[in-house]
Amino acid sequence: MMKMMKKLKDYDFTLIITPILLTAFGTVMIYSASMVSAVVEGFESTHYLFKQLQWFMLGLVGFAFCALFPYKYYQRLIKPIILVIIVLLVGVLLFGEVRNNAKSWFQLGPIHLQPAEFAKLGLIMYLASVYSKKQSYIDEFNKGVLPPLILTGLMLGLIVLQPDIGTAFIIFLIACTIIFSSGIRFKHLFILVAIGLIVLAIALPNMVTDTRIDRFTGAYEPFEAPETGGYHLIQSYIAIGVGGLTGEGLGQSVQKLGYLMEAHTDFIMAIISEELGFVGVVIVIGMLATIVLRGLFIANKCKDSFGALLAIGISSMVGIQAFINLGAISGVLPITGVTLPFISYGGSSLLILLISMGILNNIAKSVNEERQQPETVKEQPGLEKNVLNYRGGRPWSS
């Protein structure tokens, strides 16, 4: 019993409580935002609420499991994990269900699965694994940097084919963050950026559609094109503007009544802003920031480079998604259909996020455990001289 307690003590409570609170809050907001549109679509008003609650429960199981499951095993399981994900990504292109002009979902009975969400976590694990192994020769471009990018490129390509540009873009940014954090040389980083730009230049003409152009112009001059590209943003602005400091009150949103499309998914923050005001917005962003920054904090503390990169990947996944989503509803970025982590409706996404949080907790636990046995680690010989100028930190294992 004491041992259990002791083990629990090693967990990072901030990282347990914040995601759960955020998800619970998100579920409430999903109900508020979707109860009308659900009825309009011919369901019970609680349709989206219950579906999200199911995923929440499933996510909690995943959360608990991953919090207990030692993260280091992922490194060993990385090959089957990647294999499964590639199979899923190819499978969804062949057998997937077309929704919103994209083949992004599998329908398994009542459950809709979005393989791209799993690909995010899978790729984080893969890159963390690969770059931590190559840590000793990360400064060699051909040997250290390039090989993993081929698989990354393959996965991105499969997602772009769906097409799910938003998710592909997020994965790309997550990969960039991990690569950047892995200690890559700036010279190599520039080469990568150059390659990226060339690929973009080739891909761009095919990706430019009227809708996408509208979304871009809509983001910067929404009132110029109120009927087309600017519509969503104007409606989002209205929702945010109406909210003021404390909002109209929970459930009182008008914008959710058909004005703001996807009120319970992409634009849920606009509804939160309308109903709960700036106060609600700051609390939500604060909680999201807490998760991201806490994750980065753990990454910083983690002496195992796989754990550190995994933590960075997970944190950046949450952070990047949050930024792109919030950027879109506030008109800083174009609208790309990226959901708000923990809050927006979306089963696969929530499941992956809660699993990720479980993993992050496991990393945090091991960091805390290590901290309680400082002597043994400090005794490791032969590495000290490399980090002489570092105050009390520990070198990456090699």
Binding site: S136, Y137, D139, V254, L293
Partner: protein, 647 residues
Amino acid sequence: MKRVSTVTVRKRIVTVFLFGLLLFMIIDFRLGYVQFIIGDKLMDKANESWSRDIVFEADRGKILDSNGDILAENVSAPSITVVPRQIQNPQKVAENLANILDMPEKKAYEYVTKNESSVNIHPEGRKLSEKQEKAVRTLNMDGVYLAKDSKRHYPYGDYLSHVLGFTGIDNQGLMGLELYYDDKLKGEKGSLSYYSDAKGKKLESIADIYNAPKDGLDLKTTINSKVQTIMERELDLAVAKYNPDGASAIAVNPKTGGVLGMTTRPNFNPENYQDVDSSIFDRNLPIWSTYEPGSTFKIITLASALEEETVDLEEDEFDDDGSISIDGTHLHCWKEGGHGHQSYLEVVQNSCNPGFVNLGMKLGKEKLFTYIKDFGFGKKTGIDLQGEGNGILFDPEDIGPVELATTSFGQGVSVTPIQQVMAVAAAVNGGNLYEPHIAKEWIDSRTGKTVDNFENEIKDKVISESTSKELRYALESVVAKGTGKPAYVDGYRVGGKTGTAQKVGPDGQYMQDNYIVSFIGFAPADDPEIVVYVAIDNPKDTLQFGGVVAAPIVGTIIGDSLRAMGVEPREDGLEKEVDWPEQPKVEVPDLIGLKKKDVTEYMTNLSIEVEGSGDHIIDQEPKAGSKVEEGAKIRIYLSNKKDRDSD
């Protein structure tokens, strides 16, 4: 083996950390900006976007005559609304609409391609005629709709046009009663403001605001449509006969001040007011025009003198030698050589100018002008129409003996017809000066119940009942025995007074052979029910005398109106003196030596009888220079040769 420094990695993580922090701050600031800085603007947008107004037009109130006869009402006249998105072939639709609505095709194309959910074609597509409506219905174009709308309809056409006025495209009153009583006639637009979702579906959670439209009230007027019809008819006849520059007529109930009828020539059809020059619909002559009244004004002088007891009509006498000298100025009587020895009753009957000058002198300037003001001259009567004239009186300091004298017989003062009518009404109704009015009652159009009454307002008691009675007798005798004989109506005891007013030309001088001839009459003299004034401006091809032109018109109007109003005929009136010789005579022109075709110009006030054949007039009967009654026969003898001696 090269090793990456841990320091580098940690620095990188810290960089990511700081970068993440920065991004969250950017988002927070951005959201704060949207919420607080542009929030108010967005709030307006939100209300605009959420609220839907359904406008319910109120029905404009009808205008009715005193018996409930409709003078102005609403008829359905649909308007076109187009829904651009439903139009498949805008070019074709624009072409059709341009043809039907008589507008440039380019403009029509702009309407049907506008980036709006629905477009009203304003003003071209508003209030379609029946023909246009039918054309639109027949073509049955996609995306072109006919929306319910109404326009004002005046069942009597150009009848009573200046009084009724007209309404604009949005049924707003622009003229006449339509303007004066617009507030209550137009009612209040209703609206249903409700919050709705994006599909326009009503939101139950937010209370909607329903303002029921309030239909305009029906305005019942004092106008008697039968009297009005008679007046319109008579003025039409007068216009056809005399081709005057203008004409006006007013009928008033002297017991209430209510206007029974009022009309002006030239007039217009209120439904097509756009086709008429504004100088026509702007000028409601009975209340707008101001001119020297001439002899009708003598009624005021007489009333004042009777009230002040400065004259006894039967006992006092006056010798008229054709002119009277005031301060060295000779003021002439209209009758050359004068009327000779007369009682004052005869002075009135004869409309003898020197006699009235004498009356004015006896009264004195103070008293006469006090009475003139008391009778309401020099200021607006307060009739419920826009555009009333003030009239002009002499400045008290400028009134010398000559001004006093001319004012006594109606020259040198400038008045409006309505002022004269109200003053005379007061003179004959027992002395009560009423404020003239046209509105009688406000009626709720749904229940038919009277909501509000307009009170008859007595402004002043100007003379006593007994003076009024005496005056009525004197004026009845003018019609029975004097200059007003053509106004005589059997059984209705018409009283009245002729007027022949000189007009001041643009040079400030009196115009030659250009008069406003008028007659003001009332009946029955024992208990007047109606006062009628008719003025004809510059009648052509006639003797320009009020007695000749205006009196018969007033007589007909009074007779027909009283019959239409169901007033009992009287039996105890003054008998018409049939052999009264005082018709102004016409001097026979010298026709000898003229050609036959030249004679036509003399045929207007004389009738010509022809003897013989040929082109040349060789003789005439009676001789040139002799005086004959107007319309008397002149016999001319014709020959082929120029003079009779040559054959």
